[in-house]
């Protein structure tokens, strides 16, 4: 039973706020039922709506200023003393500036620290490459004890935050997309950790399985709808748990579908496509599907707004449609 009310009012409020600004609103609700929940930030309380949390629970909120390593260290000390600690700042800063601190003080010590990575992928648009984050999945998945979640929309964000509040382990939650991004879910997403869940059934044949993570999954659904008119039948799967990954389901997909297409706002190395490749490479049984990976090439792209970045990287619906048509013509 969720503590959240997935009412039209809440859904609309969260959707307007987007994942980043829904975080503080949703965490404030969770703090009402989790008495040992503490929130830390590195000078982004207003960007994450944690200022709402700070008003409601001033004694359980600490702003560490622009010091990501120290934020992780303080979180580690608090978690060691049986607190349920959530830290947040923008994705590139927490995942890269504080990476070794996360490795040692969170994962090696196996402590109850939840790292909320705001505005990952292209979310920060024109701000450029210092503010993009295409490395976090790759970095975090190499750390033992770390779980990685990446919600598809603000409803699943609530469900994932609630899930992580009940965990007593390290976790990394990757938030993506813009405010106002339309949702995938209409009600409680019934999130289950480690489940690679189908969110769009194929029309008839199992031609293409699109596997994606984060808000870019919207583009995948749009592409799948458009391809129906071309008689290409696409399923869309939501990989909202990246670690532990649903190996079993992925292997089933690889036997049932002709093409697997991974789509992510992340470098091609080490991200969702990397995870899928590694699992399939280690699968000894016969696979049917050809794997195609869409993501960000091994270079720093020129900056632009969110839509422009998706378009340039071939990650918007048109890019996905072209990639699928191209693959089908060769199949």
């Amino acid at each position: 039973m969720s503590i959240f009310n997935y009412t039209p009012e809440n859904i609309s409020k969260w959707t307007r706020a987007g994942m980043r600004k829904s975080f503080g609103l949703q965490l404030s609700e969770l703090a009402g039922v989790h008495e040992n929940l503490i929130a830390l930030t590195a000078d982004v309380a207003s960007s994450s709506s944690l200022n709402v949390f700070a008003e409601k629970f001033p004694e359980r909120f600490f702003n560490l200023g622009v010091s990501e390593q120290n934020m992780i260290g303080v979180a580690s000390g608090l978690a060691k003393e049986n607190n349920n600690v959530f830290v947040c700042t923008f994705a590139p800063f927490v995942s890269m500036r504080a990476y070794e601190a996360i490795k040692i003080l969170v994962c090696y010590m196996n402590l109850n620290v939840k790292i909320i990575a705001l505005s990952s992928g292209f979310s920060l648009g024109v701000q450029g490459n210092t503010h993009y984050c295409f490395e976090d999945i790759s970095l975090m998945r190499t750390l033992p004890n770390m779980k990685i979640f990446s919600p598809a929309d603000v409803l699943e964000e609530a469900a994932i935050l609630e899930h992580t509040a009940n965990l007593n382990t390290p976790a990394f939650v990757r938030l993506t997309g813009l405010d106002g991004t339309p949702g995938i879910f209409k009600s409680d997403p019934d999130f289950i950790e480690g489940e690679l869940k189908i969110i769009r059934e194929p029309e008839n044949n199992k031609d293409v399985a699109i596997i994606s993570t984060g808000s870019v999954i919207n583009e995948c659904v749009r592409a799948a709808r458009a391809l129906k008119r071309e008689n290409i039948s696409c399923a869309v799967f939501n990989a909202s748990t990246l670690k532990p990954f649903d190996d079993k389901k992925l292997k089933e997909i690889s036997r049932e579908y002709k093409i697997i297409l991974t789509v992510e706002e992340h470098f091609l190395s080490g991200g969702l496509g990397g995870i899928v490749s590694e699992i399939l490479a280690g699968d000894n049984e016969k696979q049917n599907a050809r794997l195609i990976r869409l993501g960000i090439d091994d270079k720093f792209p020129l900056a632009g707004n969110y839509a422009n970045m998706l378009e340039k990287s071939g990650l918007n619906a048109n890019g996905i449609i072209n990639a699928i048509k191209n693959a089908c013509s060769k199949n």
Partner: protein, 273 residues
């Protein structure tokens, strides 16, 4: 402090050095961080012998004082004082740097054995200490948090991030001790910090300086409280490899591999001290 008490603490420090020497020699080619372990022997002896409220029979006590070793490479000295305090056994000490041991070169969190954190990468202990001290404030616990740093470690930027937050949160329940032996791995003056005590005072710490090998001075520094609402830091002036006259303060002993001859000579000198 009376004579007997000082003698008792001197015995603890002497045993730390003898254990460290033994562990380093037995480690053979793997060696041990002898220099820094010897420089902090008196600091560890007085903390565990007189200051810290910790009890090996009740290691999970929520009200225990917390000791965080930030300069994790001197874990072997910490293992010794933990053994002398009943947390570790002689078997534990004997397993130092053995394959699959719970007691490798750099310590690993093990509350039952009195080890509060995993350390080895420098510059993190004070941040953890801030979190642990904040917890005491949040929950109205009276325990104190102690962090032992090295001076070389203070070159890490993360130390200064932690310094700012300790002051902001008015952590007067936090005491940091810097084992100021004026050397890092590569030797002396690799990246000196000018006027460290003035800098720390300007940041808002209560700062004490003392001879880190003198128990009376250490006790004064550890027990004095001049300010409420300020975290405390003690710059304990020490000598690397203190205890062996021929090598005290000289370079090259950060990490040591001992030959039979050195081992025997050092052992005699420590036993007769």
């Amino acid at each position: 402090m009376n004579e007997n008490e000082i003698l008792r603490l001197k015995e603890l420090a002497k045993k730390i050095r003898l254990d460290v020497l033994e562990m380093t020699f037995k480690a053979g080619a793997d060696g041990g961080h002898l220099g820094g372990a010897f420089s902090c022997a008196e600091i560890l002896a007085i903390l565990y012998g007189k200051i810290l409220n910790v009890n090996s029979k009740n290691p999970f006590d929520e009200n225990r004082d917390r000791f965080i070793l930030s300069k994790g490479h001197v874990a072997l000295a910490h293992y010794s004082i933990l053994a002398q305090s009943g947390f570790l056994t002689q078997d534990d000490l004997n397993s130092f740097e053995q394959n699959n041991s719970d007691f490798p070169t750099h310590e690993v969190i093990n509350i039952e054995k009195g080890i509060e954190t995993s350390s080895g990468s420098l510059g993190y202990g004070l941040s953890i200490g801030v979190g642990v001290a904040l917890n005491a404030k949040l929950k109205n616990k009276s325990y104190r948090t102690y962090v032992l740093l090295g001076d070389g470690e203070c070159n890490e930027g993360s130390v200064w991030e932690a310094v700012q937050s300790a002051v902001k949160f008015k952590l007067d329940n936090l005491t940091a001790v810097i084992d100021f032996n004026e050397q890092s791995l590569d030797g002396k003056n690799i990246m000196p910090i000018q006027n460290l005590s003035g800098v720390l005072e300007n940041f808002g710490f209560e700062v004490h300086e003392c001879n880190g090998h003198d128990f009376n001075e250490l006790e004064n520094a550890l027990t004095q409280n001049e300010f409420n609402d300020r975290p405390k830091i003690i710059i304990a002036h020490t000598l690397k490899a203190k205890g062996i006259k021929s090598i005290e303060g000289s370079e090259g002993w950060h990490h040591a591999r001992l030959n039979q001859n050195d081992y025997e000579n050092f052992r005699k000198e420590l036993e007769n001290a």
